[in-house]
């Protein structure tokens, strides 16, 4: 009998955590109580920034984190955060298929075994006024929290502005920031209608949360338990993608119910965003070298 502690970054109400709780139940059931996973949600055991290393160093056998947090380590981890490279669930699924081996291999070198990954709903714009002409983005103070969002803001002509996640409501209401890009889930759960008015459904990219297990801990399991874990992971991946799809429409409706004005990007804005996506993809390919280019190639040829 084994007890595994599993740190995760997001709150219980978030569908990723719900999916993980179900996954833990599935594992417990399939192993006849042999493998008992305790989920420590909302950074309660280790903070988001520490979870990968905690699993890698064997402090905990299993954990979840946002894959693109590792972008500074290897460009492959930034692939799912390039705007408009894969901006629908179907594309995101194909991109994950094309990149899964590369991601698994890099994480494998760190002693981590990838169990599954589930995307967030597409990243969309939250503003305090409507924008149809991309030129109106010029000079707007735009929340940037990593290299990719900073670059996106620059290419939009906006002013990249750093705002810590917990500071977002205050920053909007005091005017320190005027625009941000995040998923409808995050927006609805943060009750974005308290501090923004317009939601433009760009669905620019679908960043993934990934669940990894320490390879040594994984291999120490009995064959049956390991098979049960993998089967539960596969089910969690399928279920998670479905939850994410359902979540998109549901949370956009919640934003609307909260009083936000929901719209599709204007043609001009959509065209500009596509252009920016192409630029950022090209820039990514330049940093990722031939390996990265091959992944993108495989994705495009599917």
């Amino acid at each position: 009998q084994q007890a595994w502690d599993m740190p995760t970054p997001y709150a219980d109400a978030i569908f990723h955590t719900q999916n993980i709780l179900q996954f833990a139940d599935d594992v417990r059931e399939a192993t006849g109580g042999n493998l008992n996973i305790t989920v420590h949600s909302a950074n309660s055991l280790f903070g988001h920034a520490e979870i990968r290393d905690a699993v890698r160093d064997g402090l905990v056998p299993i954990g979840e984190f946002l894959l693109s947090r590792l972008a500074n380590e290897d460009p492959i981890f930034a692939l799912d955060s390039i705007p408009f490279l894969a901006s629908s669930y179907d594309d995101a699924e194909r991109l994950w298929e094309a990149s899964r081996d590369a991601v698994s291999e890099r994480l494998g070198q760190q002693g981590l075994t990838v169990l599954y990954a589930v995307p967030w709903p597409g990243q969309s714009l939250y503003l305090r006024r409507d924008i149809t002409d991309p030129a109106d983005m010029a000079g707007l103070s735009f929340r940037a929290y990593n290299v990719a969002t900073e670059r996106l803001a620059q290419l939009l002509g906006a002013t990249p502005t750093q705002v810590e996640e917990t500071d977002i409501p205050t920053a909007f209401s005091t005017g320190r920031v005027e625009a941000m890009i995040t998923s409808p889930s995050t927006g609805a759960n943060a009750q974005a209608w308290d501090f923004t008015t317009h939601y433009i459904d760009t669905q620019a990219w679908l960043p993934k949360n990934i669940v990894v297990v320490n390879t040594d801990a994984f291999e120490a399991l009995s064959d049956d338990d390991r098979a049960a874990l993998l089967a539960a992971a596969e089910a969690a991946e399928t279920r998670g993608w479905e939850m994410s799809r359902a979540e998109t429409a549901e949370k956009i409706a919640a934003l609307e119910a909260g009083g936000m004005i929901v719209s599709q990007p204007s043609e001009a804005l959509a065209a500009r965003l596509q252009e920016i996506g192409a630029t950022m993809t090209a820039e990514w390919e330049a940093t990722a070298g031939p390996d990265g280019a091959a992944v993108v190639e495989a994705y495009r040829n599917q």
Partner: protein
């Protein structure tokens, strides 16, 4: 190991180590190590390093040394004594006199600072020496400070509400608004208590100040002005969109330095003394925070808070009984864990039962903050106690004894808020109905 036995053992070890005079940070670390050794197979050293690295390098924490530094500058440049001299003529007729400065000073400062430790340290650095010099009863001076220092968490901005909001997916903006009403309620309760106490204990109050002339009143206003301007400037910098609440601490430092230099109170020696003083006070708090963060992760591995909370959930209690039981539960674990740890370790288990009982999660967040405030002033582990020990030299048990009336007032506030939930919910409901 049985969880009851383990809990009892940890409590004994903690008390033993603290009473034998081991530094608080080390005592928390050692208890965490005992817990990890008995209840987990995870490598202890690596867990310590990983968790402490994560906990000690957070952006929100950086406001702490800045606020403490600001307090040191105000204290050493005599700006704070000017402020008290300026306030004295105006509080002459108020029962309790300058004791109210602790209550209102903390309430005002809490509008800027998100943490109770920073609020207590900054206000206390100025007020305790002044109140002492003016002959106020030390027990009451320390008690009011310990109690009112906890406003840091209740009056927005608040670190605890941010942590709670993030863990429960509640709107931080709404939680902040919900804290305002109970903050005012508590300030009224504390001030009311000070008035009644001072009427009943006239012999323990200093001689009233002589009646001021109009000229003295004007001079007093002049003495008050710089500090008032500074506080307005710091609060204003947040609402003008110039600074985040964390960054506002640095506005406070810069403003205090500027005013102190202009009024000639800032010598080179004063500057160095304020900086080293702030450095060491911050280090003292940080070291305890490091021990507490390791104890938190150890508690997470042992599962003690979770199991206890789940046990309460299994009792299937009615709304009021549930709240009463939770209050007791939080007060007890609040003696041994710091506020943020309590929220982090228990919300996941407690929120579902609270929701199932039909309790509003925003309201519960404020209830939780009141409970966390209580934990700040209950021994042996309470950050306001630590801060005040370092300012006043009185040991934490003594400080906790002086703070006891204010602890009881916090319990009273929780009861009033349970009977009248609108105290918390009216403001967010009114201001955010969109």
């Amino acid at each position: 190991m049985d969880i009851t036995l383990l809990s009892a053992l940890l409590v004994v070890v903690l008390f033993g180590l603290l009473l034998s005079g081991l530094w608080v940070g080390f005592a928390l670390l050692a208890v965490g190590m005992v817990a990890m050794e008995l209840a987990s197979s995870a490598p202890m050293g690596a867990v310590f390093a990983r968790r402490v690295w994560g906990a000690m390098t957070g952006w929100d924490l950086t406001a702490l040394p800045m606020f403490i530094w600001m307090g040191e500058i105000l204290f050493r440049s005599r700006l704070s004594s000017d402020m008290f001299a300026g306030m004295a003529p105006f509080t002459r007729r108020l029962p309790g006199g300058l004791l109210h400065v602790n209550v209102f000073g903390c309430a005002l400062f809490a509008c800027v600072s998100g943490s109770s430790a920073a609020t207590t340290a900054t206000v206390g650095r100025m007020s305790l020496p002044e109140l002492r010099a003016r002959g106020y009863d030390p027990a009451m001076a320390i008690g009011t400070l310990a109690g009112a220092g906890t406003f840091g968490f209740l009056i927005p901005p608040s670190l605890i509400l941010i942590v709670y909001g993030a863990a429960t997916e509640q709107s931080i903006a709404r939680l902040f608004l919900a804290g305002v009403g109970p903050g005012i309620l508590l300030a009224v309760l504390f001030s009311g208590y000070v008035m009644i106490w001072s009427r009943l204990n006239r012999h323990r109050m200093p001689e009233p100040e002589p009646a001021p002339t109009w000229r003295e009143r004007l001079r007093a206003l002049g003495l008050l002005a710089p500090t008032i301007l500074l506080i307005i400037g710091v609060i204003g910098s947040i609402y003008a969109g110039l600074a985040s609440p964390t960054e506002a601490a640095v506005i406070g430092v810069a403003g205090a330095l500027a005013i102190a230099s202009l009024t000639g109170g800032m010598t080179r020696a004063n500057f160095v003394a304020s900086l080293t003083g702030a450095a060491m006070t911050s280090c003292m708090i940080a070291f305890i925070l490091a021990g507490a963060s390791f104890l938190t992760v150890a508690m997470g591995f042992t599962g003690i808070p979770r199991t206890l909370a789940a046990w309460i959930g299994a009792q299937d209690l009615s709304q009021f009984t549930l709240l009463a039981v939770l209050l007791v539960f939080f007060i007890v674990i609040g003696c041994f864990l710091d506020g943020i740890s309590i929220v982090v370790l228990t919300t996941s288990v407690i929120l579902p039962m609270v929701m199932a009982a039909g309790i509003d999660p925003i309201w519960f967040g404020i209830f939780l903050v009141l409970v966390v405030e209580m934990s700040q002033i209950t021994p042996p582990v309470g950050f306001n106690l630590f801060v005040i020990q370092s300012i006043s030299g009185r040991n934490i048990f003594e400080v906790a004894w002086y703070a006891l009336p204010f602890f009881l007032l916090l319990v009273l506030a929780a009861a009033i808020m349970t009977l009248f939930p609108e105290i918390a919910l009216w403001l967010p409901g009114t201001m955010m109905n969109s």
